[in-house]
Symmetry: C2
Subunit: 412 residues, 2 copies
């Protein structure tokens, strides 16, 4: 949680955090600023000091919403530095940032870098700055030890953001189910009112509309994949594919708040009308293993233990798993879950058995998503909900949604 | 254009381009891959060699759409490297990428970095790699000399993408105009059917819905700002503000293709019902200057000449401008325009008088957007269209849209 940042910085001997980039769709920036509309900013955070936010003069009103100490890029005239640097762009940028950092008294110590941005020119700028301010040392948080560690547990306000996204997400899923089952069927294919087949692309358009209507967005798209595509976990689906009865549809939806806020992550697998015997059988296995693992959730467990347990359960039923072969493409081929927050994938990580900082604890938010994939047989199955651990240490899903495989298609 | 990349690399003595990050909302990656759904990839481009694309094994089907040579991260087992590095995450990542680069024969020369991503850990990785592969040298394209220069001129296919976005954008603007003028007015305020005032937030929700319906998104939001907010160029508008008659509304909309493709950028300024005399007068000035500058567009002109010309025209009418004072907040306070493409702001730049690579030429796509801002007087005005230069050297807007200030509110 946010109040841990200073202690985590102290542990890592970090003197400052430098968060750069846009204020939207930039998790580290949103974590501090709460989602203002600033196209480019540099935020400097130091313990026991007011954060300093640099932005363009035209965005001062938006930036003021943070309550941070504001500085304008316009106070550091780029063209003057360019003249001083005799037209050398990199040198000019270096001189400009040197002056900015000197102005706020940040010229030495360990600075940890955060932010999503075009990194080529920024990499060059950092190298140049390193030359100009040799007592300043730049680091990446490769061990997820400061901001990502703070973000790994959510406070009540953050949980509420995610809960709202869960409600919104399942509302979209329910709309999708109603939309599908409202269609006419001809030759095992769902048919639109104009007589043409309903396609994956049609369904995705509807999903996007509902998300927009409810005030969310899906920057990383939505997986709505049928048949063989459903058997490839990250295939997002082929827009021209018709929606047919009796084929597995993997519907994995992971929208975020408009502007790049908190995510929700949710998957159901459906067969319209009926499901083939083998799919029914495999679905029952996935559901059974989902329920087994969900019942074994406990405080302070390392999620990798749950992943290994899931592999064991799938192997006992005769499937290949990633535990035995990391490159496997048939069977249980991925991780059981991941943390969810301002990134759709964040801490706790499920692959770090030795790192107790990933252990589930109050404030943890994570997915459980076991699945089975047989692309050559034309099907895939995945079930996923987002869970949290309450302050009292209880595990719960944010929202419930039915686990039915078969979506009945009413006769017309 | 794309076919210039090899020559531009040669000019810059670049041996390889390394494009990293997601395939969506990552302009450099979209430029090469065309918008596949891959959450994390590394693309290596070298002249006269097939590009190599690294991605996760679950995303192989999406990645295959590029036709590039595919490599899987799973072939380089992270946990084996972690063991080798005795648990040091950064060393493990360094060893892994060292092996990946050695595998594709990229161990020396100048590598130019591109891509939008969380840069802290990547900065650390590059520093580590630099140690492991001392003959490899990483650069940022700080002079916009390779990819950004290639992207500065668009081929016919790209122009068509932008034209489609222009049609879509003006369709949303027309919907917005109809939506506003369809409202009842009470006490100078637009009223919803439930009797409450129509707000900026209500209008923005509609805009988002139309964008989703037509298959676009606005990752950087939309400016729909009224009154004083309209006088602050980058204020995006206050959601709770009611929509009132006689106040300037700056409507600046800059959506992109779903997933982060080509942008369009467009602004109109409206007064509902009527406009105060001063606003009418100032609007006429902005429109006149817009038309003057648009008529002076010519091949091989540096856009900075147009910016200075615009300042001159505004100054002649008694306004302050950025030419005289870069920190000005009243009068003409920003640049006349910018290039548009896979970024909403890209080359040609309007502030680089000395760099002929910004000169307007066949394939250039850019905005013209003069404006006047008087926040303390409660108004702002901006007019903007996106232009292109045809292969034959002709200048044209992509789409037309009326330039009326006053939107009549029919009596009810």
């Amino acid at each position: 949680m946010k109040q841990e940042i200073d202690a985590l910085m102290h542990q890592q001997h970090a003197d400052a955090l430098w968060i750069s980039g846009a204020a939207l769709h930039n998790p580290a920036m949103v974590y501090f600023t709460g989602g203002i509309h600033v196209t480019q900013a540099d935020l400097f955070y130091r313990p026991r000091q007011e954060p300093v936010l640099f932005c363009g003069p035209m965005e001062r009103d938006e930036a003021a919403k943070t309550g941070f100490r504001l500085r304008s890029y316009a106070d550091f005239d780029y063209y003057a530095y360019l003249k001083q640097a005799q037209g050398d762009v990199l040198k000019a940028q270096g001189l400009r940032y040197q002056q900015m950092l000197e102005d706020i008294g940040l010229t030495q110590g360990k600075v940890v870098l955060y932010g999503v941005r075009e990194f080529g020119p920024f990499y060059a700028l950092l190298s140049e700055l390193q030359r100009l301010l040799p007592n300043l040392h730049f680091y990446g948080d490769v061990n997820d030890a400061i901001l990502l560690e703070a973000r790994a547990t959510k406070d009540e306000e953050e949980l509420e953001h995610i809960r709202q996204m869960g409600r919104l997400t399942t509302r979209v899923v329910a709309n999708t189910q109603d939309f599908l089952s409202g269609h006419t069927v001809r030759n095992e294919t769902l048919i639109k009112s104009d007589g043409s087949p309903l396609t994956i692309g049609d369904v995705k358009s509807r999903i996007n509309l509902w998300l927009a209507e409810y005030g969310a967005e899906n920057p990383e798209d939505t997986i709505f994949a049928i048949g063989r595509d459903a058997g490839v976990p990250h295939s997002s689906g082929t827009p021209s594919d018709p929606i047919k009865l009796g084929q597995t549809i993997v519907y994995d939806i992971f929208p975020c708040e408009k502007g790049g806020g908190y995510f929700y992550d949710f998957t159901r697998t459906w067969c319209l009308g009926y499901a083939p015997d083998e799919v029914q059988q495999m679905y029952a296995q996935v559901l059974e293993i989902y329920n087994t693992v969900a019942a074994e959730l406990s405080l302070d467990i390392n999620p990798n233990t749950l992943q290994l347990r899931t592999c064991e359960l799938f192997e006992a039923k005769g499937h290949e798993t990633v535990r035995k072969n990391p490159r496997v493409t048939q069977g249980y081929v991925h991780s059981l879950g991941h943390g969810v927050g301002l990134d759709v994938h964040e801490k706790p990580w499920f692959g770090q058995a030795d790192d107790p900082r990933n252990n589930l604890r109050p404030g943890s938010v994570f997915t459980l998503e076991p699945g089975l994939y047989y692309p050559e047989k034309g099907y895939g199955i995945r079930l996923e909900d987002t869970y949290y651990v309450s302050q009292a240490g209880k595990f719960a899903k944010f929202v419930d949604y039915p686990m039915d495989l078969v979506i009945p298609m009413p006769a017309k």
